[in-house]
Symmetry: C2
Subunit: 317 residues, 2 copies
């Protein structure tokens, strides 16, 4: 297992800069008054392909050698990683093969194809996905880019908090959602090198709290099919992300489904930005644990904005 270093982060940043946005940091005096903290929202919902995942995906794609590149990249994902990898491969002009469950939303399939990715459908089960993916990889010889348990991906995600530290001086804390742990690992990698005094918090849905339980138990615990509105956060930690989480995270806080939906709606209503349920989890945990954040300067990573505008969670039920 190769552990990425801060030199990898610097190399990644130079490599991907032409293909990503340096996203803005927004503030809200209303949310500051409500929480008693100074919140700085790093808006990766404005990122290319609508999510931070394009950082890691671009680092993997543009790091391929001239000999490797023509065979392209491949992944299995029904979410932002599939979009991001397709976008990055399209920018480099190489093939991108994505294995997606046939039940994935049509909008996501259209977006992958819109960026030039090729979709092979599988049944919505792990067995089918792994079987189909192995076939696709054998047929194409493509480089497998895991959504998070890949040092190139983590080094790419780490560029986000590097920008944040440049944009906002004097942060006390940074908080980001945790699913598989790619963004949090990147945050740990950057901050442990350039700002080791900054506390790192991870935020997780109560209904998919495998990372929080892993953190307390001292070893990876994987949930069996968790269910949460924050659908980007259902996946478990893996060895590489666990390496960073157990060493550098201060605490993992959780929020209920209703608290996540309320925080999402509050962000839309007050900040006028479209964010996914996943990235409302940090604000939900800040509102739930005011003593942890009051009086502090807090970086909050808004991870993405790819949401189904026809199915908003506060309208269901």
């Amino acid at each position: 297992m190769y552990i990425p270093t801060f030199e990898d982060v610097l190399a990644a940043h130079a490599r991907i800069e032409p293909y990503i946005h340096r996203t803005p940091v927004l503030t809200s005096s209303y949310l500051n008054a409500l929480t008693g903290a100074e919140l700085f929202f790093k808006c990766e919902n404005f990122q290319k392909a609508g999510a931070f995942k394009v950082r890691g995906a671009s680092n993997a794609v543009f790091g391929l050698s001239a000999a490797e590149a023509p065979r392209g990249v491949a992944t299995h994902s029904s979410g932002n990683h599939a979009l991001s990898l397709s976008y990055a491969a399209g920018r480099r002009g190489i093939p991108c093969a994505v294995v997606m469950p046939r039940t994935a939303p049509q909008a996501k399939k259209d977006a992958v194809r819109g960026y030039g990715g090729t979709i092979t459908e599988c049944e919505p089960s792990t067995t089918s996905r792994e079987f189909v993916f192995a076939q696709v990889q054998a047929a194409t010889g493509a480089d497998f880019v895991h959504p998070y348990n890949d040092p190139r991906v983590i080094a790419g995600q780490a560029t986000c908090s590097r920008e944040l530290m440049e944009q906002v001086p004097g942060l006390d804390q940074v908080i980001a959602p945790i699913g598989g742990g790619g963004m949090i690992s990147g945050t740990c990698l950057t901050l442990s090198n350039i700002a080791p005094g900054v506390a790192i918090y991870a935020a997780e849905p109560e209904q998919a709290d495998d990372a929080a339980r892993s953190f307390r138990a001292g070893h990876i615990i994987a949930d069996d099919a968790p269910n949460t509105v924050a659908d980007g956060l259902k996946v478990p930690l893996k060895d590489l992300t666990w390496h960073f989480v157990q060493r550098h995270v201060t605490d993992i806080l959780t929020a209920s489904e209703q608290e996540i939906i309320d925080a999402m709606r509050l962000t839309w209503a007050r900040m006028k930005i479209v964010i996914e349920p996943s990235c409302a989890v940090p604000l939900a945990t800040i509102l739930k644990n005011p003593d942890v954040f009051r009086g502090r300067r807090v970086g909050v990573i808004i991870t993405g904005g790819n949401v189904d505008l026809d199915k908003l969670p506060w309208m269901q039920g």
Copy 2:
């Protein structure tokens, strides 16, 4: 009728700067590719109180003399002007009396009260509104701040395009929605002074196209109770805004209800920002008239983001 000058704009900008945001300008490579133009979105949806109207309201409130101020300000509005005037009066610590129809959305009433405004309800008719407003003004002696037909308000709105011109060099065109004409008049006032070569387009719903018909007729035509999803644009031009529109506007373009809703949804989906139906009208007209905008650098004023998140127009019907 006092016609505000560019000196009034400069004075307004200095006066209101501590109380407003210098809002960011966002771009979208997707929308640029779709339209063939270079679009620069001036995001007043991120403005204090959620709309550009806080510029004019703040200019009126902070321009009151020490003798006038204690009697406060008053207006009739069920929309962003009511919120903005309440916000500005709250910042100065003076009373703000708002006459609102009793049928106005509870969320709007709550927001006005949240900023410290006092609401007097009227029946939803012009007769009742004018009668109740006259009573309120007589009782308080408050200064009447019209939502748009007021030189202080127009000078305040004019600061928006002054910022835009500083933020984006070399614009060919600027487009903004038109209702009563406050924002367009401010845009005319600024551009005719500092960038007279920039073409000014106004965008209006087909179903409330009184400004377009006025423009072609050469005199003000008021609609009788127009109905449109762009509810900020139902009001008619008045003498002061007509002065600017007839002198400086290049053309007034219109879009259908469905085109407005589609453009709104497209903005949410692609730019990840929450915008009101009113400010989707410019993009709708750009998409409808590609030859007017293709190859040009176009400033698009996003006027506000105060929308009912429980009633999104693409979900009704």
